[in-house]
Symmetry: C2
Subunit: 306 residues, 2 copies
Amino acid sequence: MSKTPVILNLGHEDLAKKLTQKLYGESGNLVHKTFPDGETYIRVNSNVRGREVIIVADLSHPNEKIVPLLLTALNCANMSARRIGLVAPYLPYMRQDQVFNPGEALSSRIFARLLNPAFDWLITVDPHLHRIKNLNEIFLLNPEVVRSAPKIAEWINQNIENPMIVGPDQETDRWVRRVAELCNAPFLFLQKHLQNDDMTKLSVPKNTSFKDHNIVIVHDIASTGETIKQSADAVAKYGGTVAKTICIHALFENRNKDHNDQADIDLISTNTIPHASNVIDVHELIVEAALEFYLRKTIPAIHRLV
Amino acid sequence: MSKTPVILNLGHEDLAKKLTQKLYGESGNLVHKTFPDGETYIRVNSNVRGREVIIVADLSHPNEKIVPLLLTALNCANMSARRIGLVAPYLPYMRQDQVFNPGEALSSRIFARLLNPAFDWLITVDPHLHRIKNLNEIFLLNPEVVRSAPKIAEWINQNIENPMIVGPDQETDRWVRRVAELCNAPFLFLQKHLQNDDMTKLSVPKNTSFKDHNIVIVHDIASTGETIKQSADAVAKYGGTVAKTICIHALFENRNKDHNDQADIDLISTNTIPHASNVIDVHELIVEAALEFYLRKTIPAIHRLV
């Protein structure tokens, strides 16, 4: 029986290919069709019995992707795969991590509950963790977080002279601080002012000195681009020079459309979600983490009852 | 604490209203929004603590509806609802009930597994059961099947003189036979001939006599309308007069578009899925079944860990 892992692709073709190469794996033959009634047909045309399976999935705009993902994973379980891992560079629903008003769904936890029975381990890049400090708090499977900061810092070091890193608010602390450290650059957070109708306004804190720094705005998620645009506007209004705006996850609805058309900003992103703005390659870091999981044979397979 | 049930609507407004009235329930305030990143926001703005919750959901074209459904149900569980019932007049994924080729997902079973932890009971209308004889085989929750045959037969008795009921194939036996009995009418099944490229052709069995009968074609699911159209063509070619074609579940992609535009057939349907072709009202039967469940207090609430 072959011991090479089988890699199945659900929307992340380049990353799946790279993983297959680096892990000396087999590129799994996954048939994924949609019937006229909107139901998904899944066929795993590879022998996964007793083998490691790694599903590489794009989970941006997640709802329609979850049933195909679970059909694929639980089908591999039925086919007696040894362990099933999920590589999801973008992990959705993590922003809904608190019940702000009575009756609100704690979606992050419920979403984790949907994935828990289907996978043995999970790799993701910089999940939006704020009130939840660690994915272990909500995931039973073994979660591993890849930090994109080294690659973002590398890009900044190669392209921006004398940078200063600016985060739209304190919630970006875990990304901004690390990038700044790796660039040996100063950093600051903008201040949020709640306005009427749930709108927020961002401003530069008083007594800030930009000196001759080139400002790099770093944010984790851009879905409309509004926060990044407001941040750039606030810096410019204060007299700063915005050299570049960077987001980790480019969650724009139309992945082919140029980001500048969508948000009127000059934005680059990492390739956790395939998008026209992808410039910073973090796939290598994901492959390293997957290799680590693949070699760490001690992770027990969770008993699955299908 | 109020003991009236709380009824939540996810795509079946008329049925939810009727259920609320007949069960003397409370129309639950369910906020269901979509963020720009495609994630669902759910808020149950009603006090469900210790109360029965009934979620009335349209699950046609199911994939994008499953995450909102599970967020709603598991949120009610978090809010300490006493029991949570699902009224889904159309139950998807039941046609994928066998592994025809190695590696194919047994989607009916996996889909059932997704619903099992979220609900205590389920009511549906005429699920497409063929190899699975009973929903109990795949659902742990308490499933109840409503038969639409009495209402279909009632419509035929009121509108068609001297009817003969025709089913496209033997798989329609459980619907066609019962309707024919209730109409005191003869019935027959067309014969399937497999052709190249997965296409099937339907024909009237030899030595069939239509006499002066008005043919009524009855099928369970219409998604493209192709099977019903082929059936009508086969009957006409044999010299029969097709008085009406009826389907239980109108699974057409565009629910507002006239069915005749879509399939070039004169089709009527029951209202298990809201669609322009809905003529036969089965909501009353669903309400009766729900009332039965609501009164049968002995159904134990399944322990849920969220």
